[in-house]
């Protein structure tokens, strides 16, 4: 076995660090499905006087398609089930599920569909798309960074800010900020 071959095997089997030199979007070409195993979609909303409200969605699914030849032709689609929201405080969860916020009984899905992907670096891209929640659609932008790529699994770190007033969820402003900070770790498995 050549030294080069050994090095390649080592690179494939070791978890890849976030250093951009190790992974590249172009190498990640393929179709991946996002599952909840290992993935997380967390959010936080600042409140007046300091601190904030943070939580996560327990159930979601989606697909990532990465075009190897032209990353710009890649696409992402994610469906979140707002019923699965969790903040660690049952009364807040019930409030978020109610008609005050998600109205998850009548609007069980929150959907994001990308409309354009712009590569901004070796491992980074800006993803624009439409977010639909409670029957209202609005353009939103997220930034994604490819954190690891190994054996048919991609890990992205995605962040973005969403104005909840656009989706009829402005309850509690200005005490609670209109800006929702999203912080997601999306693990995609090939296939």
């Amino acid at each position: 076995m050549s030294v080069r071959m050994l090095a390649l095997l080592a690179a494939l089997s070791l978890p890849v660090s976030t250093a951009s030199a190790d992974v590249s979007l172009g190498d990640a070409a393929g179709r991946y499905s996002i599952g909840t195993g290992g993935s997380s979609i967390r959010f936080s909303i600042a409140k007046l006087g300091g601190g904030g409200l943070s939580g996560a969605f327990g159930r979601f699914s989606g697909t990532i398609r990465i075009d190897g030849a032209d990353v710009g032709r890649s696409s992402v689609e994610i469906t979140i089930f707002p019923d699965s929201v969790g903040t660690g405080q049952g009364r807040i969860d019930a409030f978020l599920r109610s008609d005050a916020v998600f109205d998850s009984a009548n609007a069980p899905q929150i959907v994001f569909r990308s409309t354009s992907v712009k590569r901004t670096g070796d491992t980074t891209a800006v993803i624009a798309g439409r977010l639909t929640a409670r029957g209202k659609s609005s353009p939103e932008v997220f930034t994604a960074r490819l954190d690891s790529l190994k054996r048919g699994t991609v890990a992205f770190h995605v962040t973005g800010k969403v104005l909840r007033s656009r989706y009829g969820m402005d309850v509690g402003t200005p005490i609670y900020s209109n800006v929702v900070d999203f912080d997601m770790t999306l693990i995609g498995r090939r296939g």
């Binding site: 007046l48 006087g49 405080q89 009364r91 109610s98 008609d99 005050a100 309850v171 200005p174 005490i175």
Partner: protein, 193 residues
């Protein structure tokens, strides 16, 4: 003709009268709002009503403090001679109790939001962040202050009902000056007793 701001030995001045009615409206309004906001089915409306209730509660507390200060710095008008001995003793007692509930009902509400594990900030009329009272937050403390606040509000409204009935008795049955002196002080040109 000068406006009578301060109390006299026989009459309430405008400041005492204004504070009395502002606080009376706020106190009764807060009671009704408090009952409504926890019974309403829309969670969104409930949230908004609770924030209004907190805002008016802080306003009420501020006015009550001003009122107590004003009361301590003013003479207390004595009741007319015609008022019966029992009422001469009962009225100051009920008034004192009313002062106590005016103060502790809003304070207990402030304690309630301070110990709530939901940690919803209090921002009266969206103007500034009201700090919490330095009490530890816990489910048990929240349950305690929630019961205390509601119970004290009921005591307050029962006292107010008694007080209102007594006032109306003066106005419509006894027809003496007691009710009128909480409406306006005598003006210079039409002396009243």
């Amino acid at each position: 003709m000068a406006l009578l701001f301060r109390n006299t030995p026989t009459h309430y001045g405008w400041i005492a009268i204004l504070l009395h009615w502002l606080i009376a409206v706020l106190f009764i309004g807060q009671f009704a709002l408090g009952l409504a906001m926890v019974r309403i089915s829309s969670q969104r409306t409930a949230f908004e009503l609770i924030q209004w209730h907190k805002s008016f509660g802080f306003l009420l507390l501020g006015l009550v403090l001003v009122r107590i200060g004003w009361r301590l710095g003013n003479v207390r008008p004595t009741l007319p001679e015609t008022v019966a001995p029992l009422e001469r003793r009962a009225a100051p007692l009920v008034h004192a109790l009313l002062y106590v509930v005016q103060l502790i009902v809003p304070l207990s509400g402030w304690a309630l939001v301070s110990v709530s594990v939901l940690e919803v900030p209090s921002v009266p009329f969206d103007l500034f962040v009201m700090p919490n009272l330095p009490l530890g937050a816990s489910d048990a403390a929240e349950a305690f202050w929630s019961v205390a606040h509601e119970w004290l509000a009921w005591v307050g409204i029962a006292l107010a009902a008694l007080h209102i009935l007594a006032a109306l008795r003066h106005r419509f049955l006894l027809r003496d000056s007691v009710f009128q002196r909480m409406i306006a002080p005598p003006s210079g040109d039409e002396p009243r007793e």
